[in-house]
Symmetry: C2
Subunit: 420 residues, 2 copies
């Protein structure tokens, strides 16, 4: 894409009422717009990241055997009353609204109830199990305060997968696989080294749930990490019983602020027994389906990556989810600069590389500053001076490392940098 | 995908309370699930169609120069008060809800207000224009009655594009291009021959708006078509003045029931003047931006295609948006049938063809009936009898046309059928 055509503009300062680092940077760079506290609009650059993240996670969910669906936001009160989760005393962040006939409906905070009821039509026998179903869908949560940018939204995009198994044993096998896949996802998006499987409260369902907590000062949680074992314990379950059950000792734990970038829950038969989702087992008896749920807040993950990887100059995107792979900065108005930039741009686009070409008629300093703010992983500087020596300059946004590359080698070098 | 892994099951009958043909068929075939009146869940097969439709339209919007964003569902009351559209007396299908602090927010029925206000940050000069911005986003509309399946939802997916131009003349050029693109889209999804550009009420904005109306008994609108000129007039503006301004005469018009599958509006400066979206013109003066909007209800379009193309046996999908291109029906439990089916399945998948393989251990009659109900464009029947003669049977779902093809020719034949 040519930057002269991009309708968004960068800003020198973030809005004064925006206190979170992720939203400040994303607004300044033109990735998001704040509609109201906790509600953000995704502009072209931001939507590209959101889509890349979605696609990366979709592939992993498909590899896990997941089938994608799209549930609704408007929710029937009756289902939620059956499980006792309709009341604002039980779930305190409902948004509710009314149909014309006066009956109340909710805006989905989560989707266990509707999905479990939907499956009554489709699961009868052990032959229909296991089933893994996921979606990317907006959740609405009426947060009392929403000051963390896209880390905690009132409306936000979430991937939620639900597993339906014959037995706890079958469930556990999938649950372990899901843990591996989650680690894999966080590695691929550049935060693997600071994200820990964290034992957390299992609610009424099981001993523990598992969070994936990423270390950051912007986090609202406190976790205690055993860096050698690469696991952590959430403050809320930190006690001697838990530590001994996990074979951890206090002196090896490091306290950190962290944000939950994913969480997985064993639900057992809480929902299936209440909502009547049973199946005929091989033995002929009727059993309740054994369930689990597996969430990743997509917009929260995007915000977490910003909190973790950005620097004083702006955003720094990992190649896997970057809005563009290469940012060509055409420096100077000289005809040969413009020609070379366009030629290289066309060559890269033809090879399927996502390129942003800064062809705007503004000074070089502004282009460099904007490029650092936007955070595309590879910056390619094409100036008169470089061209005269037959070279272009490639700069890694994350490290600042610069290499001069012969024009003829540009494509190969870029393709190699993308793969790395 | 192997059908034995698909979690949805077909149904012999639709729910009794479902009166619309599109929802009846889509529910029976396992494409959608009814959450409540006017609110549908998209199951794996249905979501595939919805995504194909989205991707087809996205490409057209990008070709038009559109930039994709994602606006929010939760809407700030203040913006809508400025344009006088917050009141339930003016917009009678708002869903409204409340933040914890008691302030009311709306669920977006449309997005002119928030997008116009967003652009205050990004449009200053004629150099920033024109801009074309679009999204695929849920709309929420509190319909009094919702009995038309996915033709009229309380929550539904919509593509809406908004144009921002310097002048009416510049706007008109784009508007004409948009009409061509819309015709193109409806042709590509198989309803071009029954969809008419229809002159309709322009509201306070301009003489006319333009609807794209598809003829169907399920439609809620009545239009009057001049089949030679290939345009129509909506009942609501049918009068002598309008007819003469369009150079139409009553005796050439045919009355038809129709459903609106797209609509485009010249908005002029109604929103820009009220919300302050102006720009410095070349001449130095401040002008209001000239706007237009261009909608296609994606889920409504999917429902309209069902109404138009399905037959007494079930759904009939055009290749361009079909959930799969080929449905392999493995008939009989014979080892060689299973082997041949799997070989052909693997070959096609490797070539990038979307294939559904019915490998379920049920009888042939059920497979044929399910396949007709699901409506994949090419059915491939692999039976013991066929194999013994080295052939497979290819059947076009839409026409029932059957060809016997030598096993060695299957790939070429299928690829040709997909391209046609």
């Amino acid at each position: 894409m040519k930057q002269s055509m991009l309708f968004t503009k960068t800003k020198f300062e973030a809005p004064k009422d925006e206190v979170s680092k992720n939203a400040q940077l994303l607004i300044r760079a033109g990735f998001v717009h704040k509609e109201m506290a906790g509600v953000y609009v995704y502009l072209p650059l931001g939507l590209r990241v959101l889509k890349n993240l979605t696609e990366l996670i979709r592939k992993e969910m498909n590899d896990l055997g997941g089938q994608e669906i799209l549930l609704s936001s408007l929710q029937n009160r009756v289902s939620w009353e059956k499980t006792g989760r309709w009341s604002d005393q039980v779930v305190d962040n409902w948004f509710k609204t009314k149909l014309k006939n006066g009956s109340e409906v909710g805006l989905a905070t989560t989707h266990e109830e509707p999905l479990t009821e939907l499956l009554l039509d489709h699961i009868n026998s052990y032959r229909d199990l296991p089933v893994y179903i996921y979606q990317f869908q907006n959740k609405f949560r009426n947060e009392e305060r929403a000051k963390s940018g896209i880390l905690r939204g009132r409306e936000f995009l979430m991937k939620d997968l639900y597993s339906f198994s014959e037995s706890e044993a079958e469930h556990n096998k999938f649950y372990e696989k899901a843990i591996d896949v989650y680690h894999n996802i966080f590695s691929k998006v550049g935060i693997g080294d600071r994200t820990y499987l964290t034992f957390s409260d299992g609610g009424s369902f099981s001993d523990f749930s598992h969070e994936f907590q990423m270390i950051t000062d912007a986090g609202e949680d406190t976790i205690y990490i055993d860096k050698e074992k690469k696991i952590a314990v959430n403050e809320e379950v930190l006690n001697d019983d838990v530590l001994s059950s996990l074979d951890l000792s206090r002196e090896n734990l490091v306290e950190e602020k962290a944000v939950e970038v994913g969480n997985i829950f064993t639900l057992g038969n809480k929902f299936s027994s209440t909502l009547g989702l049973s199946f005929s087992a091989k033995t002929g008896e009727k059993n309740d389906v054994f369930m689990g749920c597996y969430g990743i807040g997509i917009s929260r993950l995007m915000g977490s990556i910003v909190e973790a990887l950005s620097d004083e100059k702006g955003l720094v995107w990992p190649m896997s989810i970057a809005p563009f792979s290469v940012h060509i900065l055409q420096v100077g108005l000289n005809e040969s600069v413009s020609q070379t930039s366009t030629d290289i741009y066309n060559t890269l686009v033809q090879e399927g590389v996502d390129v942003l070409l800064d062809d705007r008629q503004i000074n070089a300093g502004e282009k460099f500053a904007d490029s650092d703010l936007i955070g595309v992983p590879v910056q390619m500087i094409i100036s008169e001076k470089n061209i005269s020596s037959g070279e272009v300059e490639l700069k890694e946004r994350a490290t600042g490392k610069v290499v001069m590359v012969d024009e003829a080698q540009v494509l190969d070098t870029v393709l190699r940098m993308i793969k790395e």
